[in-house]
C-alpha cells in the first residue's frame, strides 16, 4: 500500500463519509464558507499564497456604522416587528383569534415569534401563506421578513445583557404547542421535507 492509499484510508476511517471528503475538498477550492478553525486555516493558507491584492472598494467601518444608524432611524417600527406583534397590529385581531383563523395555537405562534431563528424555511413559508390567506391586512412577504427582524433592530431595543439562550429547536416548539397530534405531524413534516 503506497502512502497515498494509506493517507486516504486513514482519512476515510477518521472522517467518515465520501460526502465529508467532498465537503472538505470544496473548502479547499473556496466553494463554501469556512466554518471551523481547521477550515479557516485551510482558507487562510491559500490566501497567503495568492497574489490578489486586498479589495479597495469596500466601505469603511464608519460607512457601515452610518448605514446602521440611518436604517435604525428610517425604518418604520412596524417593519421591524416580530411575527406575533406584526400579525396583531396588521389584522387588528387578538392573538387567540389570529391563532384560530390560522388553525394553530397561540403557544405555537408565540414560540415561533420568539425563536424565529430556529424555524426552518418551509414552515416559515407555510406560516406566511396561512397569514396572508386567513388574516386581513397581512402580506406573506412581511411575515417572512418578520422571521428575521434582527438585522435592522433599533439600538434602543438592545439589552445590556442578552437573555439566557434557551435550548430550543423547531421540533420542541411543535411538541409543546398544544396542537393536536395530527397538526403536530403536519408541521413537523414540513421541516422534514426540507431536510430531504
Amino acid at each position: 500500500m503506497n502512502n497515498e492509499e494509506k493517507n486516504w484510508k486513514t482519512t476515510e476511517s477518521h472522517d467518515g463519509s465520501l460526502d465529508e471528503q467532498i465537503y472538505r475538498a470544496m473548502v479547499e477550492l473556496g466553494w463554501v464558507f469556512p466554518q471551523t478553525v481547521e477550515e479557516v486555516e485551510i482558507a487562510e493558507e491559500q490566501m497567503y499564497r495568492e497574489t490578489a491584492p486586498p479589495h479597495t472598494g469596500l466601505p469603511t467601518a464608519e460607512d457601515i456604522l452610518k448605514r446602521m444608524r440611518s436604517a435604525n432611524s428610517r425604518i418604520p417600527v412596524v417593519e421591524r416587528m416580530q411575527l406575533l406583534p406584526l400579525l396583531r397590529q396588521r389584522s387588528k385581531m387578538k392573538a387567540t383569534a389570529i391563532a384560530e383563523s390560522m388553525g394553530v395555537t397561540v403557544t405555537f405562534l408565540s414560540d415561533i415569534s420568539s425563536h424565529s431563528n430556529v424555524i426552518p424555511f418551509k414552515p416559515r413559508k407555510e406560516v406566511a401563506s396561512l397569514a396572508e390567506a386567513k388574516l386581513p391586512g397581512v402580506t406573506g412577504q412581511e411575515v417572512l421578513d418578520s422571521f428575521d427582524p434582527d438585522l435592522y433592530q433599533p439600538m434602543a431595543a438592545f439589552r445590556d445583557r442578552p437573555f439566557e439562550e434557551e435550548n430550543v429547536n423547531y421540533e420542541k416548539i411543535v411538541l409543546r404547542s398544544d396542537m393536536s397530534e395530527e397538526q403536530q405531524r403536519y408541521w413537523l413534516s414540513l421541516a422534514e421535507e426540507e431536510q430531504k
Binding site: 475538498a25 464558507f33 482558507a43 497574489t51 456604522l65 424555511f121
Partner: protein
C-alpha cells in the same frame, strides 16, 4: 491579547490589541456604551474585512453579482455586530487560533446570509464567472500544483473538476447547506424547487444528478487508486 480590565485601565488606544472576544463583548454591550461598541466594531471590521471579502468572492462567484457580494460582506458584519452576544469565546493560548475561531463564527453568519440571499433571488441564478476571479483561481492552481498537499484532498478536488458544470453547481449548493459533522450533503426542499425550475427538470432529477455526481467522484477516486495498484474500498 488583552483582557477587559486592562483595556479599561489603558484606555482607547489599547483597543487595537484587544482580543476578538473582547471586541465582540464590547459590541454586545452597545446599549450601555455605544461609543466603545462602535470603536470595537471598527477594529473588528478592519481585522477581518479583507478575509471575508476574499472568501465571499470565491464562494459566491457565479452565484451573486458584484453588488450582492459587497452587500453580503456588509451584512455579515452588521449581523455580527447585532449578534455579538451569541459569540462564545474559548480560552486560546495564541492570537492566531483566537482569530481563526472568530473567523469561523463569521463564516457561519456569512453562509446563512448567502443562502438567504440566493433564496430571496427567487431562483438559483447561474451567472457567468467573474474573469478576474477565474484568473486568481487559475493562478492559485498553478501555484498549488507545485506544493506538497494531502494527496486525498487533491484527488477529490481533481474529481470535482471532472464533473459537468451542472453537477458542480448542485454539489456546491448541497455543500452550502452542509454543517461540519453532518452525515450527508443534502439539498433542502426549497432549494430543490428552485434548482428544478432553473434547469427545467423535476426535483427527482436534481437528486439523481447529485447522486450521480457523487458516484462520479467515487469512481474517479477508485480508478486513480487502481492505476496505482491499490484495492481501496470507498
Amino acid at each position: 491579547m488583552i483582557m477587559e480590565t486592562e483595556l479599561i485601565t489603558r484606555g482607547t488606544p489599547a483597543i487595537s490589541e484587544a482580543s476578538n472576544e473582547l471586541l465582540l463583548s464590547l459590541m454586545a454591550g452597545r446599549n450601555n456604551d455605544p461609543a466603545s461598541a462602535e470603536q470595537a466594531f471598527a477594529e473588528f471590521y478592519n481585522r477581518h474585512r479583507d478575509y471575508v471579502f476574499r472568501i465571499t468572492c470565491k464562494v459566491a462567484n457565479g452565484l451573486l453579482d458584484d453588488d450582492e457580494k459587497f452587500d453580503l460582506v456588509q451584512e455579515t458584519f452588521i449581523r455580527a455586530y447585532e449578534k455579538a452576544h451569541t459569540f462564545k469565546g474559548r480560552a486560546f493560548d495564541d492570537v492566531t487560533q483566537e482569530r481563526k475561531w472568530a473567523r469561523a463564527w463569521l463564516g457561519v453568519i456569512a453562509n446563512h446570509l448567502h443562502i438567504d440571499k440566493m433564496r430571496k433571488n427567487k431562483g438559483v441564478r447561474l451567472l457567468s464567472y467573474d474573469d478576474e476571479e477565474v484568473k486568481r483561481e487559475a493562478e492559485w492552481k498553478r501555484v498549488a500544483a507545485n506544493l506538497p498537499k494531502d494527496s486525498e484532498h487533491r484527488l477529490v478536488q481533481e474529481a470535482l473538476e471532472q464533473l459537468t458544470e451542472k453537477e458542480q453547481w448542485i454539489l456546491r449548493l448541497a455543500a452550502l447547506n452542509y454543517s461540519p459533522g453532518d452525515k450527508q450533503l443534502r439539498i433542502p426542499d426549497a432549494d430543490l424547487d428552485e434548482l428544478a425550475k432553473t434547469y427545467n427538470v423535476s426535483k427527482a432529477s436534481i437528486r439523481q444528478t447529485k447522486n450521480r455526481a457523487k458516484e462520479k467522484v467515487k469512481n474517479y477516486l477508485e480508478a486513480r487508486f487502481q492505476q496505482k495498484g491499490g484495492d481501496i474500498q470507498l
